[in-house]
Structures are given as structure tokens and as C-alpha cells.
Symmetry: C2
Subunit: 340 residues, 2 copies
């Protein structure tokens, strides 16, 4: 509920994700029930049947029909031009026009990013949106960004990421003064590639709680709360971690089979997967820097994860993340200058 007692309205891209529209609709109905939100689904007319199937108790779940949607592999920039009525774009538009408080999509990352940037726009002072998250269970209080939205980031972009991460961690991990670090090849100031070396002095002047460089092992030890890297590095790291998580899981089951009861083993293998892998229990993450709340849910989301992503959207709206980010950006405006 908002302060005025009105339900929050979440626009959901019914066509995004591996299990759309069935599981998306089911998850949306679950969220309408559990979280008390109003759902505005955007999808093909046939999705109405799915709504009828799951929404038996007359929850506020409505379909806004469209014939277009993004398919996996389509270049995001093309979508904006060639499919102006794509479900993800119409859902994002609802946020821009004030018809919805947030948008959720499990569609391809690029298309959700494009919808957030192209339709909702970016917060003033932000040049590129960014994706981040605590990505290893061993370090749940380390928020790493960028995880793949931007390759070839310049030092000013990295500072943008640091500000976004700081506000995020303060709000959602409840750490008042998050420790910020640059990911590099050594802890000393001179260590790193050109971009990191330049960013170092920018970070020092930023007024953020900058603790210097951290190294690869610190992603596991949790030395910093906000770890900043270029999206090229972040994307490779998160995919490496994911691959490792699956391999370790298989190895564990094969190696301990017969030594430990099956159920216990299954439980421990699941735990280890979380420790070595995406620490995300939210079902997705916000497109950070967008001028409004846009949540990218995992492509493989089933109903449960969709409901969690909708819950996250609600949470991000209620905590006024976007408003706080604007305020923090204004505060260090002098330091963050766009690249000359």
C-alpha cells in the first residue's frame, strides 16, 4: 500500500522469459495475492486464458493486449525501432506515464535495459544504466557492479557505478556507510589498468567511503561492500562463477553419493551452489540508474521467481531508491563530470 492507501501498480511483461506467458501470469497472480499489489500484464491476447486459469479469486490482475514482443537474440536497439509495441516497451511506458509504479520483465537483459533507457530514461548525472548484485553467497554483503551492462567503461562511469552501489547497499543491505573499492590486480594505488588507475583518484575525491583497490579473492572474502568493475570483467566473472557452481554441484553429488544420505546430500549441494554462485534471492535485480523502477527477472524464472521479482519491485518503490539516488548524485555532482 502507498501512504494514500492505494495499491502499488506493477506493470509486468507477460511475454518475457523462458516460461512466458504461463509462469509469468501465475507468478503475477501469486504476487497480487501475497503482496497486495495491482498487476498490469502486457502480452498477447491469448494470455487472457492464463489469467483466467490462475486468477480465480478476482484479484486486480488486468491484461493490456499487444501483438508484439521481443524474442531471444533480437538486437535490443532494433526492438525499439521495429517493434514499438513490444510488451516490454509498453510496460515500461506505463511507468513513464504514471500508470504504473514499476515494471518487471524476465525478457532478455538487453531488451529490458533498452526499455528502461529508451522509454523511462536515465536519472540526471547517470550516463549508462548498470546491473549489480551480491553475486557470491560467501560474501552476501559485497555488492558487485557492473555485471555486464557496459563494456569499455571510463573512470567517470565507474564512479557512477560506485554512487549507485553505495545507495543500493545503504538501502537494501542496511549498511550505513558502505565500504567502496575498485576491483584490480593489486591493492596499492598504482596497480591496475589505465581506467582503474585514473578512477582511483576520482574515487578518492568523491566523498564516498573509498577503501582503495581489492583483488579477485576479496570477492569471496567480502572485504568491501561495493565492488566496482567494468561490465566486461563483471560479466566474465559472474559467468565463470555460475559455471563453477554447476560443476562443483555435480562433482559433490558424484563424490559423496553413497557416503551421505541422498536427502542430506541434495540439501548440502544446494547450499554450496548458493555459496559459490549468485547470492540473489530476489528473483532478479533492478536496472540501476533508470529514472524509475525497472526489474530484470531471471530469464529462467518460474512463477515463484516472478513473484519475488514483483516483490522486489514493490520494495524498491517503497524505499524510494530512485529518489535517494538522485539526492546522492546531486551531492557529489561536482566530482562526477561527464567525460570531456
Amino acid at each position: 500500500m502507498t501512504e494514500t492507501g492505494k495499491k502499488l501498480r506493477i506493470a509486468v511483461d507477460a511475454m518475457g522469459g523462458d516460461h512466458a506467458p504461463g509462469e509469468v501470469v501465475r507468478g503475477a497472480v501469486m504476487a497480487a495475492e501475497k503482496e497486495g499489489v495491482e498487476i498490469k500484464l502486457v502480452g498477447v491476447p491469448a494470455a487472457q486464458d492464463e489469467i483466467a486459469k490462475w486468477n480465480k479469486s478476482g484479484l486486480p490482475v488486468t491484461l493490456f493486449p499487444t501483438d508484439e514482443y521481443v524474442q531471444e537474440g533480437e538486437p535490443p536497439a532494433m526492438v525499439l525501432r521495429k517493434k514499438p509495441k513490444a510488451s516490454v516497451l509498453l510496460a515500461a511506458k506505463m511507468v513513464r506515464t504514471g500508470e504504473a509504479d514499476a515494471v518487471v520483465s524476465a525478457g532478455p537483459t538487453g531488451s529490458v535495459m533498452a526499455a528502461a533507457m529508451g522509454v523511462m530514461g536515465l536519472i540526471e548525472g547517470i550516463e549508462r544504466p548498470v546491473i549489480g548484485g551480491p553475486f557470491v553467497g560467501f560474501a552476501p554483503n559485497s555488492f558487485v557492479l557492473d555485471l555486464g551492462a557496459n563494456v569499455d567503461s571510463n573512470p567517470y562511469h565507474l564512479l557512477n557505478f560506485a554512487v549507485i552501489g553505495t545507495v543500493y547497499v545503504r538501502r537494501f543491505l542496511n549498511i550505513e556507510n558502505p565500504k567502496v573499492a575498485l576491483l584490480s590486480v593489486g591493492s596499492e594505488e598504482g596497480k591496475g589498468n589505465e581506467t582503474v588507475r585514473e578512477a582511483y583518484s576520482l574515487f578518492r575525491k568523491s566523498g564516498l567511503n573509498f577503501i582503495g583497490n581489492v583483488e579477485g579473492m576479496d570477492l569471496v572474502s567480502g572485504k568491501a561492500n561495493v565492488v566496482v568493475c567494468d561490465g566486461f570483467v563483471g560479466n566474465i566473472l559472474i559467468k565463470f562463477s555460475e559455471g563453477m557452481g554447476y560443476a562443483v554441484n555435480r562433482w559433490l553429488k558424484a563424490s559423496f553419493k553413497g557416503h551421505v544420505p541422498d536427502e542430506k546430500l541434495e540439501d548440502l549441494a544446494g547450499q554450496l551452489f548458493t555459496m559459490t554462485n549468485i547470492a540473489d534471492k530476489a528473483g532478479g535485480g533492478p536496472i540501476l540508474g533508470a529514472n524509475g523502477v525497472a526489474i530484470k527477472a531471471h530469464g529462467r524464472s518460474k512463477a515463484d521467481e516472478i513473484a519475488k521479482a514483483i516483490n522486489m519491485a514493490k520494495w524498491v518503490v517503497e524505499t524510494n531508491f530512485v529518489g535517494e539516488l538522485k539526492a546522492e548524485l546531486a551531492r557529489i555532482k561536482e566530482t562526477i563530470k561527464p567525460q570531456p
Copy 2:
């Protein structure tokens, strides 16, 4: 033995590593016995006592005394100027002058690199030496380079690394036509940062067995035999993997304690550490691109690892790696042009 029946002569930096000189001397004596090599130790005069302690059977192990050596944290470039008689430099010099066939040091990576570059020089066509290795046990046939010698590599450097990796894998992993890939954020040609995108077309023209881009998870799946990345990315990856290896090892022991017999658990934990971590069983790796054989042993090496590193030096000399690398470089000379 060489073809003429003469023993291979290995120059060993007695002062390099966490356990120098004691464990280094002990490992060198072990190698003299097991591998039938002649050892030329370079270190402080007091190291003679260590030799006396371990070399009871009159093996060919000689001390070449010097008062200078590199300490952890000293800038490598400074060492060349300020400590011209540092043990690692004198040992490398023996290779240059023909007094030794290879040099082995467990000193800081930077100092061994500086010794290789500054004293032995680089192979023609190579602009920077590089460090590589199969770094995850799950993918023993994936050789990854650069693991940290060069940050800010340009596309030509990356091609250099690919050539070096190809020759290495052919020689030491016995794969005749190694599959070469660029590490990137997506498998399609256009994916990656500027350097990788430019390198893509260079690689395609190189005559190498280029299979395109691979992603983070492919470091675990072993899709390519030679995975090329900038040293900034490689260093972060290997340290992340190392940190993860230790954390998983601790987690495994704590979680399965009492469920599995201690000895069995210790064994499995050790196995998992190798699977998630440095796949290196050689005790170290060569400085690739140096005009001669220089082996960097792990800083934490004890006698066993020093002996393995010396064995590796012998192996690299005997397989004529440097000669083959020169030949391969000459073959694709037209493609590898230095940066304008």
C-alpha cells in the same frame, strides 16, 4: 642428459620464495638426484651451509655467491638498476652467457619477469612476456593466458599470447591443433570490449585454429584449449578462483564433518580444491616469450615444489619450446605486426 651426454645445467635463485634458502636448496638437491641435472645455486654465502646439510652424496650442486637479492615488495624495475647482482639476475645471466640451460626462481613474479626480459631478452616478434596455465582442474586442457603479466594489452599483444599458448598446448598438453578462443562477454563476433572486437579479426586472419569468443563458463567447461585474455582480467579471475577454492574447501570440511570419515573427507576436500583452483602440478610455470627458459616457481614452494619446477625447466629445455615458438612466430610474421 643432452644429446651429447652432458647433464642439463639449471641455475636456481636460492634466495627466492617464502622458504628460501633452506627449502630451495633442499629441493635443488632433490632434483639433482632424481632428474640427473646439474644445479647452479645463486645466493648469499651462508647458503653453503644449507648445501652441506642436504647434499650428502656429492651431487653436482654448486653455490655462486652474491650478497644481493630481491625482497618481497621491491619494484621490479628498481631491482635491475639498484641491485645488479641480485641472485635472480645473476642466475638469469647464466642462461644468457650459456653457463646454464634454464633458470628457476620462486621470487616475486615481477622480479622473475624483469630478470627474463632485462637479462635474457625476448624472442623476436614478442613485445611482452606472458604467464599462463590451465587454471581450473575441471578444465585441465584449457590453457589460459595472460594471467597477470600485462594489463592494458592491445589486440596484437593478444595475438602474441595466442601464438605462445598454441605452441605451449601443442608441446605440453599434446594437442596437435589447439582450439584458440578470445575470452569475452558473448560468443558472437560483435561481442566484447574494443580490444577484443579488434582482436577478433586479427585472430581470424592468423592461421591459428580460432574458434571465436568463449564466455566465463567456458573456462570451466574447457571449450577451447587456448583462452586468451588481457592480464587484468586473467589476474582477477585466477585470484577469484583461488579465493573460492579456499572458501569451498573450508565449507566442505565444516559441512560434512561427522557425516564422512575424516580421512575420506580430507581426500575429497583436496580433490575439490584442485578442481576449482590452479590445475598446476608442475610447481610453477615458464615466463612465456623469454628468449630462453625461465621458470617462475610458486612463492610458497617447499622443497617438493622446487624440485618439480626444476623438472619443468628440464622438460621445457628438452622439448625445445623456445625454438618452436620462434618458428611459429616466423610463420605468421605477416599477421603479427607491432602496434603502429
